[in-house]
């Protein structure tokens, strides 16, 4: 039993079992199981408001689940103390939707921030590391700029350079493609794949951009109404027989998820108003 657990930890970086999490009276997750294998790109997809970002925060230990287990690299995240959690986070990168760059610092200082906070490296060495990370995302020339001078796509690339500054074991991407023009979208898609393979990372992408995500993900979990609806490689999901997954993957306006928000009968409503 212990041996299989160890074998599992060697292959699987994040293991979620029976996860339950509520906001107010609403269950965001009601029994979610998923495995995120090392070295792969795993996507978690689902409609807006299904708590995909919440899932990343649960994995990162910023929120605590009401029940269930979340193991990252063999450690039970919800049970970690402050110090152990912060130690673990040094090996996890997270890319926020907004980039979450520190607005009072230049691009260079933003990327140098985790290095200066967590290492005692010499400034010259930090400079080399920062330039290498910025080169990887193609923004070495933009190092003097301030975050408010960057476009949305550039800000995300800087945030990506910052996320890989400490050479983490995994990166979590929160809606990396939302609101990007086609060019920066293409650049991001390529970067995520490239960094994952070149640095031997494990990537978790949370997104509802089906095409882009399906093009780089190795495995996809589709989440809706607090549960994993279906999972598999992208090709398998594209051919899914479930009407719901079919509607989601192909972006059909009507189907199991109705176009109309639930309400009274249309006719009744109109007549009521007239009366």
């Amino acid at each position: 039993m212990i041996e299989t657990q160890e074998q599992d930890d060697a292959a699987i970086l994040v293991r979620v079992r029976g996860l339950r999490f509520a906001r107010g009276r609403r269950w965001i997750f009601d029994g979610v199981d998923l495995d995120i294998p090392r070295g792969r790109i795993t996507a978690i997809m689902g409609p807006s408001g299904t708590g995909k970002t919440t899932l990343l925060r649960l994995i990162g230990g910023q929120l605590k689940p009401h029940a269930g287990s979340i193991r990252v690299d063999g450690r039970e995240v919800p049970k970690l103390g402050h110090t152990a959690l912060y130690e673990l986070r040094k090996r996890m990168g997270m890319l926020f939707q907004s980039g979450a760059l520190l607005t009072d610092m230049s691009v260079y200082d933003n990327v140098a921030f985790p290095l200066r906070e967590h290492t005692a490296l010499d400034e010259r060495l930090i400079r080399d590391l920062v330039l290498m990370k910025l080169q990887a995302v193609g923004l070495r020339g933009a190092r003097e700029l301030l975050p408010n001078e960057l476009s949305g796509g550039m800000a995300r690339r800087v945030a990506l350079a910052r996320a890989i500054a400490l050479d983490p074991m995994m990166i979590m991407y929160d809606e990396p493609f939302t609101g990007q023009d086609p060019i920066s979208m293409g650049a991001l898609v390529q970067l995520i794949r490239l960094l994952n393979d070149a640095l031997g990372l494990t990537s978790v992408i949370v997104s509802h951009d089906v095409q882009e995500t399906a093009s780089i993900a190795d495995y996809i979990y589709v989440v809706s109404d607090g549960k994993v609806v279906e999972h598999g490689p992208p090709e398998a999901l594209n051919r899914s027989e479930s009407p719901w997954v079919n509607q989601f993957m192909h972006g059909l306006p009507d189907g199991p998820v109705p176009f109309h928000y639930p309400g009274r009968e249309y006719l009744d409503d109109l007549l009521d108003e007239a009366g």
Binding site: G60, Q62, Y86, E87, R89, K90, M92, G93, M94, F96, Q97, S98, A100, L101, L102, T103, F113, P114, E117, H118, A159, R162
Partner: protein
């Protein structure tokens, strides 16, 4: 009628619960901030930066306000004292009003408006734009990295600003009293010197300004950190900082004055 009463009771109960809830969170937050202070000894640069933005940038408003408050004290005091032929005590009146009361209180109110609101808005916006969350995920404790230096900077700056306010105020009083209204300069300063006591007046004023600095900065950083992360939330938090700080300062001033000077 009956349900209306119940509703009111319910709202009242909820308001009290919310109040104690916030008070509890505010205290836990304060403990967390205090725990982050020793680490600042190694990072003096962070502290100096914040003392600049919290303290040095508040200097202008403190200097100008102090000068005018002192000048008004000079004018008003002279008009009252001259009726009793006691205009030579003008220096005493100006100095004691400033050192005991107006210095710490007005500085704290101005400080809440100038530096406190800025602290709340800055921290609140950092929260709204996920910068604090981002730091947490980079394994950097935002309370230690962002809040603690700002808190300590406010705590250090406030008494210094209050001292500057009083000094400038006394100068303003002398400008009006001595130079404009013709009170004898020697009497103005020598009476002030003999009447103002170091322990009773100056120390108590300094204690007040330290207490106010602590409370105003605490309210400001807590409101920022506890903001609802939307633009409306940040604006409400900023307003709350100024209103709560002002009420806390005036209320505490009465308590402190009663303890220090009252025969109660």
């Amino acid at each position: 009628m009956f349900t209306g009463l119940l509703d009111t009771l319910q709202r009242l109960g909820r308001a009290w619960l919310d109040f104690f809830n916030r008070l509890g969170r505010g205290n836990l937050f304060l403990l967390h901030v205090l725990a982050g202070l020793p680490g600042l000894l190694l990072r003096v640069r962070l502290l100096v930066q914040q003392i600049y933005s919290v303290g040095v940038l508040s200097l202008l408003i403190i200097l100008v306000s102090g000068l005018f408050v002192g000048m008004v004290l000079g004018l008003q005091g002279y008009r009252t004292l001259v009726d009793y032929g006691a205009e030579e005590s003008l220096g005493v009146m100006v100095a004691l009003s400033l050192v005991r009361e107006l210095g710490p209180v007005v500085t704290a109110l101005l400080f809440a408006g100038r530096a406190g609101s800025a602290l709340t808005a800055e921290i609140g916006l950092m929260k709204a734009t996920e910068q604090l969350s981002g730091m947490e995920m980079m394994a950097v404790d935002p309370v230690k990295r962002v809040i603690a230096p700002r808190f300590l900077a406010g705590f250090i700056s406030m008494p210094l600003l209050a001292a500057i306010f009083s000094a400038v105020g006394v100068y303003g009083g002398s400008l009006v009293g001595v130079n404009l209204l013709g009170v004898d300069e020697g009497a103005f300063w020598s009476q002030m010197q003999s009447a103002v006591e170091l322990e009773k007046d100056i120390y108590n004023g300094v204690v007040k300004s330290i207490v106010f600095g602590f409370v105003v900065t605490w309210i400001a950083v807590f409101e920022g950190y506890d903001t609802v992360p939307t633009s409306e939330g940040v604006s409400r938090a900023t307003t709350r900082t100024v209103v709560h700080s002002a009420l806390a300062v005036l209320g505490l001033d009465f308590v402190l004055t009663a303890l220090m000077f009252g025969e109660v």
